[in-house]
């Protein structure tokens, strides 16, 4: 690509400071990050245009498009340069090749406008790029400006910074940024004759993340073929065999030795157990054994599918996007959402996304800046970035973000976890798909660039202090509108009057075309002409085209007779499609670039050639250095303070500052929203109506138990599943129609103990799934969430050299609601009744009774006996009751002088009790419940807005609900609250 000179520079800023939203937002970000010396920030949006454009054209663009005359002013320059200003100036530009959605939209709109005005022009505007300029007042040293740029304004893995401040004047680029051009040259990688060390070295240098046994298998395969692999062949195998794509740890054979499972799980009498395939012998096995007829597609497609009504199923998928979010939180989280939504689009012949979910695990946003290791972004910046990414992608696509969770633990400092989920509705007749030999291979959506190369292998290794530099190319910025267009086109092609216009579809995830085409061709064969893939810029090598993770692309298998109709449907929605080859029955995957064959892989070897190894797993008991959450000694004197502090703590306070940023109403289906009741208390789960003309609903709820509460991963898994089910039952879902998804995030599985923890969690999933008759339908794991600190940092900060996350298991549940008008919320309702606690103690290690508790509560709800229901979590009963008061803006008076067995304090604050708090009608019959759980008459609802409790030794607490409410809403305001202008 030739260098393009910037012909015009258009600088747009707010006419008055009060309309400079970007500047004011930046100022508040700076204040949060501790830059109190900054007194003002003004932001200017810059558009740089290249092409055959006259000043009149630019003026037209400004008048009609780029500038809002009511509130903005513009400066038009024909040269690039810094304006006169006494303030420090910082310009933030994107790195060459990074997605710039605004520029993409602007270039089309600019050309339209000029050509409509003057039809003699074709495409006068060749390129547009955008940038932001910040004028910063109040700083008194250049270093300070540089620090502001680095810590707040820009992320150098996707952005470039130019500064004019004090003595420094950076030269601004006068050309549009372009990516380097590569010449075509076929490259082979010599493997034959290499010894073990050399093979390991090839894997390392090529960043293939292949183990030695895997490298030897590949070496032998190509030796038998009598040739060396080409670079693209080797890289394709590395992607296909990566942990990210094939889940080789979870699917490996495992020899387990350690503590037993079930009620015996605390015993020191060790058992041995062999698993042929850990996933298949635990999680999948439970689903197969249960064999529910309402499970329509499990563990085989991009998402699991359960029955909804006679005509439709519901698809659900949850993914993680941890490593990209650690390095570029906004882009990483946004593309995580985009990828998960594409899994829904690529489920069967395409499901329509109807809801998104998320869970974030991060360190305390109040983390001391001085204790931040090199290569790690501050937790506040990470959290704000991922919320922004999830918000912008979901909102722009018009998918409501309905449920979420947030967990804090310092062990997530270097490895934040970003779980993103998506739910879709799919006609039953479109669940099955199969590409046919003779079908065309069609790629649709965004163009391919160098962005995101090596995503799958990148996700499969551990992070280090230099990772941000080495893997910057794996990080991307999403373009939600491109994906929305693909969604619109896909549904129109699926529901076309001529019948579905394609025989299969899947998304391009990590691994790009290599994984999408590779998977679709698995039982067939394919020939791909890589030069036919539409590119963002010329000069990509064949392996870059094949492996780029560039976003917003889907691959379709299209019968030749339907090609033209499909093309017309997509082009009408503004989506580019390209015919890049053919599926055939050759059993091999042939890659061509113009007239040359650049790769030919045996599909059986690619998909089944990975060497199987048996891993050893041990579990002697929880690690000794794990500090469990120690309950503080609670007395009559401190009970009230402790309850208020817990309500206000970041761990259990209101998530409102996050939810408010998500459009949870779009599509019009919301029935139970994230905040419920007149007092806007917390909801246990979301309920939506996927069809506007029906009262049938879908409930979505989650569970995640911390190892600090339950250090044995076996019980941690069971408690997580129980929590997801409780949440769903609370809103009115039928417990016999709940399906769940697993997402394992582990620090690493290299050592036997970590593997042992994984085995115990999997076995817990199996045992709980069978006990509750709740099948898993889909899952995904991310098993390398550790960070290698630089040796200096480890010593300086007194942190472990390898900083790993705790074993983390997210259970996402999806439930069926026959009639949403029967749904229940957690807020206390007017008009009396009784408040009862229904609970059980996890220390009893008793699982068998629990399913009956959930069934009995569900029966009560169905029977209209329950006016409010709320989950008892590991925060304790008092906390849950307080939340019900907040939601209902009503009081409750506990009368626990008759409490059985336990002391009142234990009952109200114990974090090992789980269950439900129910506001039931006076005449409710709880006989059935009492057989399976402890049932305590907990409180009377009151209208005086006081929550009170007394023990035999006197008053424990008596708090106004306004006070509870204020505490609960305060926890995240400092770090996430809307800006209060000052």
């Amino acid at each position: 690509m030739s260098e393009r000179k910037i012909n015009w520079r258009v600088s747009v800023r707010a006419r008055y400071a009060q309309y400079d939203a970007k500047g004011r937002l930046t100022l508040s970000e700076l204040r949060r990050a501790g830059f109190d010396d900054v007194s003002a920030v003004r932001a200017t949006r810059i558009f740089e245009l290249s092409g055959d454009i006259s000043r009149d054209h630019v003026q037209l663009l400004c008048n009609k498009l780029l500038v809002d005359p009511a509130i903005e002013v513009v400066v038009i320059d024909s040269t690039v340069g810094w304006p006169d200003s006494s303030a420090a100036l910082v310009e933030v530009h994107l790195q060459p090749g990074v997605m710039d959605p605004v520029a993409l939209s602007a270039i089309d709109a600019c050309n339209d406008l000029i050509c409509n005005n003057d039809p003699s022009f074709q495409t006068p505007v060749e390129s547009v790029q955008t940038a932001w300029r910040y004028e910063i007042e109040g700083v008194n040293h250049f270093n300070r400006v540089e620090e502001i740029a680095r810590r707040v304004l820009a992320n150098d893995c996707v952005e470039r910074v130019f500064i004019k401040a004090f003595d420094r004047v950076d030269t601004l680029p006068t050309d549009i940024a372009t990516a380097p051009v590569a010449e075509f040259k076929l490259v082979s990688v010599a493997l034959s004759g290499l010894d073990d060390d050399s093979l390991t070295d090839v894997s390392k240098r090529g960043r293939l993340f292949l183990s030695l046994p895997e490298m030897k298998e590949i070496q032998a395969h190509f030796a038998a073929l009598g040739r060396e692999p080409t670079d693209v062949e080797l890289e394709t195998i590395a992607q296909t065999w990566s942990e990210h794509c094939v889940h080789k740890t979870l699917k490996s054979a495992v020899a387990y030795e350690g503590r037993p499972f079930g009620v015996e799980s605390d015993s020191q009498e060790f058992i041995k157990r062999h698993y042929g395939n850990l996933l298949v012998d635990t999680i999948v096995k439970a689903t197969r054994e249960l064999d529910h007829d309402w499970c329509l597609s499990v563990f085989e497609d991009n998402a699991g599918v359960v029955a909804f009504d006679d005509d439709n199923g519901i698809a659900f998928k949850v993914e993680t996007h941890n490593h990209p979010s650690a390095i570029e939180p906004y882009g990483g989280a946004a593309t995580g959402v985009g990828g998960c939504v594409r899994d829904i689009l690529g489920c069967g012949l395409g499901a329509k996304p109807i809801a998104n979910t998320n869970v974030f695990c991060v360190a305390d946003p109040g983390w001391d800046d001085a204790r931040l290791p090199t290569g790690v972004l501050h937790p506040r910046r990470i959290l704000r970035g991922i919320i922004g990414g999830v918000r912008d992608y979901g909102n722009r696509m018009g998918i409501p973000t309905v449920a979420g969770g947030l967990r804090f633990d310092e062990r997530y400092l270097a490895n934040p976890l970003v779980f993103v989920g998506s739910v879709g509705i799919i006609p039953r007749k479109h669940i099955a798909k199969a590409p046919q030999a003779g079908d065309r291979i069609v790629v649709a959506g965004g163009r391919t660039g160098r962005d995101g190369i090596g995503g799958a292998t990148f996700s499969s290794g551990e992070l280090t202090d230099t990772h941000a530099d080495e893997f910057a190319h794996a990080v991307q910025i999403g373009n939600a509108i491109e994906e929305k267009k693909v969604l619109d086109a896909l549904l129109r092609a699926r529901d076309h009057e001529d019948g579905c216009l394609y025989s299969a579809v899947t998304d391009c995830g990590a691994g790009g075309l290599s994984s999408a085409v590779g998977e679709m061709a698995e039982h067939l064969g394919a020939t791909v002409q890589l030069e036919n893939v539409p590119l963002k810029y010329s000069g990509l090598r064949y392996n870059e085209i094949w492996l780029s993770e560039a976003q917003e692309r889907m691959v379709f298998s299209v019968p030749p007779s339907k090609m033209e109709t499909l093309r017309a449907v997509f082009e009408r929605e503004g989506v580019e499609v390209a015919d890049i080859g053919e599926f055939n029955d050759s059993g091999s995957l042939e890659l061509r670039f113009n007239d040359e064959q650049v790769g030919r892989l045996d599909l059986d070897f690619m998909h089944n050639g990975i060497p199987q190894i048996t891993r050893v797993a041990r579990w002697d008991g929880p690690p000794e250095n794990l500090v469990p959450s120690k309950p503080v000694k609670i007395t009559n004197e401190n009970a009230q303070g402790i309850m208020l502090a817990k309500l206000a703590s970041i761990d259990s306070c209101s998530r409102e500052p996050i939810f408010r940023q998500y459009d949870f109403e779009v599509q019009g289906g919301s029935v139970i929203k994230p905040l419920v009741g007149v007092g806007e208390g917390p909801s246990d789960a979301a309920v939506i109506t996927p069809r506007l003309d029906s009262n049938r609903g879908v409930a979505i709820g989650m569970g995640m138990c911390s190892d600090r509460i339950e250090p044995d991963p076996y019980w941690m898994a069971i408690r997580s599943i129980d929590e997801a089910i409780r949440n769903l039952v609370c809103v009115g879902a039928d417990p016999s129609r709940i399906a769940i998804l697993d997402n394992f995030c582990w620090g690493g599985c290299a050592d036997e103990e970590a593997m042992g923890a994984l085995v115990r969690a999997c076995q817990g999933c199996h045992d709980a799934a069978l006990a509750y008759k709740t099948p898993f339908i889909s899952g995904k794991d991310s098993l390398n969430n550790q960070f290698s600190l630089s040796p200096d940092d480890a010593e300086r900060l007194n942190l472990p050299k390898t900083f790993a996350i705790p074993p983390t298991l997210l259970i996402s549940g999806i439930g069926h609601v026959e009639d949403v008008r029967r749904c229940v919320t957690s807020d206390l309702k007017q008009g009396g009744g009784r408040i009862v606690a229904v609970f059980y103690d996890w220390r009893s290690r008793e699982l068998s009774k629990l399913p009956r508790v959930h069934a009995a509560v569900s029966e009560l709800i169905k029977g209209g006996q329950v006016r409010a229901a709320h989950d008892i979590t590991d925060e304790g009963i008092a906390h849950s009751l307080a939340e019900m008061c907040i939601g209902g803006r009503r009081g409750a008076k506990t009368k626990l002088d008759v409490a059985p067995q336990k002391s009142v304090i234990t009952l109200l604050f114990d974090n090992h009790l789980s269950g439900y708090i129910l506001q039931v009608v006076d005449e409710a019959d709880l006989g059935n419940l009492k057989e399976h759980a402890e049932v305590v008459e907990l409180a009377q609802p009151t209208n005086d807005k006081l929550l009170s409790a007394a023990s035999k030794r006197g008053l424990l607490f008596e708090v106004n609900v306004e006070l509870l409410d204020g505490a609960w809403r305060s926890g995240l305001v400092r770090d996430l609250g809307e800006r209060s202008d000052g």
Binding site: Y19, A70, A109, K484, S670, K673, V678, K829, R979
Partner: protein, 249 residues
């Protein structure tokens, strides 16, 4: 007269089109999706309809600014068509992104010569999704009952209504204002709009643009605390569509 016909304009990034179809059909109209490109190519197509709706979403990503590219593509092509539509008793409704489009395309303003208006970033600096209480003032707006309160959700980042000359907006152009609610938390005016403006109308009262989403409250179970209140005779959002259907023609 048969059912009024509603054209709902869609384009890349529009995402509240289906619920708008549903809301209009519940109100007794017949609503169809029409692609922006078709209208730009053949503006006369709008003559087949009684009501034109610009639905919510993020048209073209709201890149540059909310609604700017949609408005720029629309250009002047609909000015005449819309004038004819209004003259024959038709109606135009812009919801959220649709309101932004109407304003930025110059199809809706405050009617004071030399004063331009716009919708820009909320004073909070971020996207906000919450329910708000609104009050209708104008007695001639075809979508509203005069002096009635409406409870509806907003979901926008750029909903702050501003006018170029400072503060004054003619009273007859103000259709809905954010107002104190009985049961809600949070600021009365959620985005810093001048004069608490949530919706404006043209001189005839037949064109209205509003930031709240009436199409998201046409059923009882969409109300944020429906589990603790009795079912109302008519959800507030549906009331707006029904009033419009009553007043068309």
């Amino acid at each position: 007269m048969g059912k009024p016909r509603v054209a709902i304009l869609r384009s890349a990034g529009i995402n509240c089109d289906e619920e708008a179809v549903y809301a209009w059909s519940l109100a007794g109209a017949e609503a169809l999706l029409v692609h922006l490109d078709d209208v730009v190519a053949t503006p006369k197509r709008v003559d087949e309809y009684d009501i034109l709706t610009f639905p919510g979403g993020f048209s073209f990503g709201d890149d540059i600014s909310a609604g700017a590219i949609f408005a720029s593509r629309l250009g002047n092509v609909l000015s005449d068509t819309i004038r004819r539509l209004v003259e024959r008793g038709g109606l135009v409704l812009g919801i959220c992104n649709g309101f932004q489009v109407l304003v930025k395309a110059g199809l809706l303003d405050v009617g004071t010569p030399g004063t331009s208006c716009s919708l820009t970033m909320n004073t909070s600096g971020q996207f906000t999704c919450r329910w708000v209480t609104l009050e209708s003032k104008s007695s001639n707006c075809a979508f509203l009952e005069p002096n009635r309160k409406y409870f509806l959700p907003i979901a926008h980042a750029e909903g702050r209504f501003v006018v170029s000359d400072g503060q004054s907006v003619p009273v007859d152009r103000i259709a809905l204002q954010y107002t104190e609610g009985v049961d809600r938390i949070g600021p009365t005016n959620p985005n810093g709009s001048v004069c608490d403006i949530a919706a404006i109308t043209d001189a005839t009262g037949r064109i209205m643009g509003l930031m709240p989403h009436p199409e998201r409250f046409v059923r009882h179970t969409q109300h944020p605390f429906w589990t603790s209140i009795p079912e109302a005779a008519e959800p507030d959002g549906l009331a707006i569509f029904r009033t419009a259907v009553k007043n068309v023609g």
